[in-house]
């Protein structure tokens, strides 16, 4: 609901010169730029991208930030570390925290994914055997996978030291949409895809 200030001259259409942008239009662009930037974005950076005077952009951002204040929604535009940033308001931080905590992280780190791949295809498999294949210790990855219930213990292996063996769980099947372990794709399944067709 920012006011629109009409400053377009309709007479100069033939001239090559860049038409000045409406404030509402600039405000839209500024909001989007702050939103997509990975870090607080400075007025200067905004002005550079939009090819406008810094003073103008400054007032546009200020007004935008104020409109966020007035709206009192869940977000705010703050000046931080020399730039502007959209963030959640402190009032909602409990809800946000609950979301971040509850997020059922179906996601895996690369280390965990690698370990899971080895376990899936080599099960039942022991920690030393996983080490042998991956070439790195996988202790914390195994812990993560156990916590996420993607793998389960499968008894001790009857060799020296009787190391614990691991295999994939029922949750693993559900998570990856597999009917059973025979449903795991084999290298042959994708063989045709990797042929030198490209």
């Amino acid at each position: 609901m920012a006011e629109t200030i009409e400053i377009i001259e309709e007479t100069v259409e033939t001239v090559e010169e860049k038409q000045p942008r409406e404030v509402a239009d600039l405000s839209r662009a500024v909001e989007a730029l702050i939103f997509v930037a990975d870090e607080p974005i400075s007025t200067r950076a905004l002005a550079d991208v939009l090819e406008e005077e810094r003073d103008l952009i400054d007032s546009v951002v200020e007004e935008l930030a104020e409109s966020y204040e007035e709206r009192r929604g869940g977000l705010q535009i703050r000046q931080i570390a020399g730039g502007w940033q959209i963030s959640t308001r402190t009032e909602v931080h409990e809800d946000v925290r609950r979301l971040l905590k509850s997020r059922p992280s179906a996601k895996l780190s690369l280390a965990a994914l690698e370990t899971l791949a080895v376990i899936a295809y080599k099960q039942p498999v022991t920690v030393p055997e996983i080490l042998e294949i991956r070439g790195v210790q996988s202790a914390s990855a195994i812990k993560t996978l156990l916590e996420k219930r993607l793998i389960v213990t499968k008894g001790h292996k009857e060799t020296v030291g009787r190391p614990m063996q691991y295999g994939t769980s029922k949750e693993f099947l559900i998570h990856f949409g597999l009917k059973d372990l025979s449903d795991l794709p084999s290298i042959e399944d994708f063989e045709d895809l990797v042929s030198p067709l490209t």
Partner: protein, 259 residues
């Protein structure tokens, strides 16, 4: 081809063929790709402005074969799929030349030999249209951006995996494994004498050497063992001492005469 200097660029956005007809019989092709033989067939039917339900099969077959000949001449690999359809076209053409079976009852409907192909073309063209719809949608989506990274994302530097990821990751591990084995085999073993010489040169050149850094520069277990023995040997026989500037700090090999 009839048109002189005809230019034809096909369907959406240069994804397929651009054809430039030069003279009467000689086609000069700038080939993008046809998405397949059915794609080519549809293109030829359109080109002829023919009715898809009444394809002039002889003419279309000739043009199709001509096209394949040109592709071959231009050394474009003609996929087997193109030849399959070519064979089918020729078969339909010959069946249409056959006289009507005189024994067949007068009123008996004789199935048009083209029917199966036409059905297939119609089915295919639906998906071609659907592909175009996807193309347009993705163009719109390319103009929409999600938010940048925020603080809370950093706790979540993780990937959303699919079964395909599990397999490809597993293959990568196996490949990595193979590479490691190969490297080990190809590397020449360094002898203890060489290792001692190497170490001494480095210590006396710089006055000192950080052992941890030196060990980290080694690549195989065997090298590490050799280096370890070499360090012990040097400390025992040369004027070099082991030194740790404070507890838990890195251990330094230091030449004694250099202050």
């Amino acid at each position: 081809m009839h048109a002189e200097q005809e230019q034809y660029s096909f369907d959406f956005h240069k994804e397929t063929a651009e054809i430039v007809a030069e003279s009467r019989d000689e086609l000069n092709l700038k080939l993008g790709e046809f998405a397949g033989p059915l794609d080519l067939l549809l293109y030829l039917i359109r080109q002829e402005q023919a009715n898809i339900f009444d394809i002039p099969i002889a003419r279309i077959t000739d043009e199709y074969l001509n096209y394949i000949r040109i592709m071959k001449r231009l050394d474009i690999a003609v996929a087997a799929d193109f030849l399959v359809i070519a064979a089918q076209l020729i078969e339909i053409k010959s069946r249409m030349l056959l006289p009507r079976d005189p024994l067949a009852a007068e009123d008996e409907e004789i199935e048009d030999p083209r029917k199966e192909l036409v059905d297939r073309l119609l089915e295919y063209e639906k998906f071609k249209a659907a592909a175009e719809m996807l193309y347009e949608r993705s163009t719109i989506e390319h103009a929409v951006f999600p938010r940048g990274v925020i603080d809370s994302d950093e706790h979540n530097a993780e990937v959303n995996a699919t079964v395909f990821d599990i397999l490809t990751v597993f293959q990568k591990i196996l490949a990595r494994h193979k590479d490691e084995v190969k490297m080990e085999i190809h590397r020449e073993e360094i002898s203890l004498a060489d290792m001692i010489r190497n170490l001494k040169t480095r210590i006396f050149a710089a006055g000192e050497l950080n052992i941890a850094e030196f060990f980290e520069s080694l690549e195989t277990k065997r090298e590490l063992v050799t280096a370890f023995v070499a360090v012990l040997e040097i400390v025992r026989t040369e004027s070099v001492k082991l030194l740790q500037r404070k507890t838990f700090a890195d251990i330094i090999l230091k030449a004694e005469n250099s202050g």
